[in-house]
């Protein structure tokens, strides 16, 4: 369904162009959960933003292809891109503090996609939103509907983001380190939720993280990135149990011991 072929991303906002992602390849099937791991600055977010079509077309030169159901998102018209965005491709960001609009009510923000892509009336949207807030396991969705982001905890906000992303039944959910800013218990809950949603709705998830243990729990396949390149890719268990690349080995060796014990 989603195929990224030889994606290169180059920044043009400085005097010398700077390439941050080299020859990125990715294949994502319907209903699949694929992970991207790598240290900070390895180009995970850049790749994700490029796939979501959020990198400025002018400031960043991109080579390669991002094929979504056969349509190249890099070269299609803006209107075509906008149709895919929100409808088929959604994203949850890393920082729950800034990913919700501080002056808009939760319900309004979750319903925005519906307002943009469907002809539903405000009442129908409200019902759908409340149903969705329930689906992401938020307690008392009716009252959350009328709240502002600052009244919610980080974990709740991330759930709201997931609700907003999923309300139009997208085919792909890109989750860029959705749990990094959360504490461990909340993190585990969100992971569980994502897994459940994936089972129920068949939404494919591209899960970005620098936390290998999380990726191992959630994903079926994984890409390891290092300095803008994909250095290793394959089934999760294979990559983690029999890493081929030196970098992957070092990455695995860096998992805190407690968590390693958990696997054994």
């Amino acid at each position: 369904m989603l195929d990224v072929i030889d994606l290169n991303i180059e920044f043009h906002d400085h005097i010398t162009p700077e390439t941050v992602v080299y020859d990125f390849d990715l294949h994502l099937d319907e209903g699949e959960i694929v992970g991207i791991v790598g240290e900070s600055g390895s180009g995970k977010s850049m790749s994700a933003l490029a796939i979501a079509g959020l990198l400025s077309r002018k400031k960043m030169k991109k080579r390669g292809q991002i094929l979504f159901d056969g349509v190249d998102l890099l070269t299609c018209s803006r209107d075509t891109l906008r149709k895919y965005q929100g409808n088929d491709i959604c994203m949850v960001f890393q920082e729950p503090m800034t990913s919700l609009n501080p002056v808009k009510r939760i319900g309004w923000q979750v319903g925005e996609s519906l307002r943009l892509h469907t002809e539903l009336s405000e009442d129908e949207i409200r019902n759908k939103v409340i149903k969705m807030l329930e689906d992401v396991e938020l307690q008392d969705p009716e009252s959350i509907y009328d709240k502002y982001p600052h009244e919610l905890s980080g974990g709740m906000r991330q759930r709201v983001m997931i609700a907003a992303a999923l309300i139009c039944n997208p085919k792909v959910l890109i989750a860029d380190e959705p749990t990094t800013a959360l504490d461990v218990t909340v993190q585990a809950q969100i992971i569980k939720l994502l897994k459940k949603i994936n089972k129920k709705t068949g939404t494919a998830i591209l899960f970005i993280s620098h936390d290998l243990s999380v990726v191992r729990k959630l994903c079926s396949r994984v890409l390891v990135m290092y300095k803008g390149r994909v250095v290793e890719t394959g089934e999760v268990n294979e990559v983690f149990d029999f890493p081929k690349e030196e970098y992957t080995k070092r990455l695995i060796a860096a998992i805190p011991r407690m968590e390693k014990l958990e696997y054994e």
Binding site: I89, M91, A164
Partner: protein, 267 residues
Amino acid sequence: MKVRFKENRRLYIGLIITGLMLILAITGKFFTPYDPNAMDSANKLAGISAKHIMGCDNFGRDIFSRILAGLDTTMVVAVGTVLIGVTFGTVIGALTGYYGGRPDEIMMRFNDAVLAFPSLLLALVIISIMGSGKMNVTIALGILFIPGYARIVRGEFLKCRNLDYVQSARLMGASYLRIMFVHILPNTIPVLLSTVAIGFNNAVLAEAGMSFLGIGVQPPDSSLGRMLSESQSYLFLRPGYALCTGSVIALLIFGFAMLNEGLEKHA
């Protein structure tokens, strides 16, 4: 947004004074004790009395009536000025801040150029081209206010345009205009609101200043600025004339300043 009096005294004081002034101005539009332009040679420079609570000016016109009418003029000019400034300033600031690039550069350099001149001088130029009068003063001042607001709004948009929630709206497929005016603009309102209060302030002062110099509001419209300028000649004979007019202007300014400071606390 609920604010208690104790937490933000200035906001409340500002609201009360401004509200009071607004009521007086609206009253002045529909009702004044005397016709503000009716001359009465018997009452030339009459002192304070039960009939004329602030006395009469050099033509025997009731000062209190003229202040009410002047307040109305001043308010209309101030509101018009701020409205022009905020509307165009917001649109220009939103577009340039959101898109950036070459148009932004050009617009901001133009802005800098306008801001580099003393505003009274520019107003003079515009007035000399268009002629004076209530309407033209409003337009001239309004134009002068645009760059200031544009710059403030641009700054806010610059700050917001790459925040995650804007990215998120973009990804939902919202159009540029919707992102700018539905998603981002409400976030700039607290900042905008406090500058609007100070904008009223500047507008009142500028109008009073221009009318004082005789290039502002023209007769028969009364204006606080021109009244102050006229009262100068009788400063020693009838200090009450200048005192009353001056204190109304001062109170008006004070009210807006308090409002601004109070709002700034929440920006």
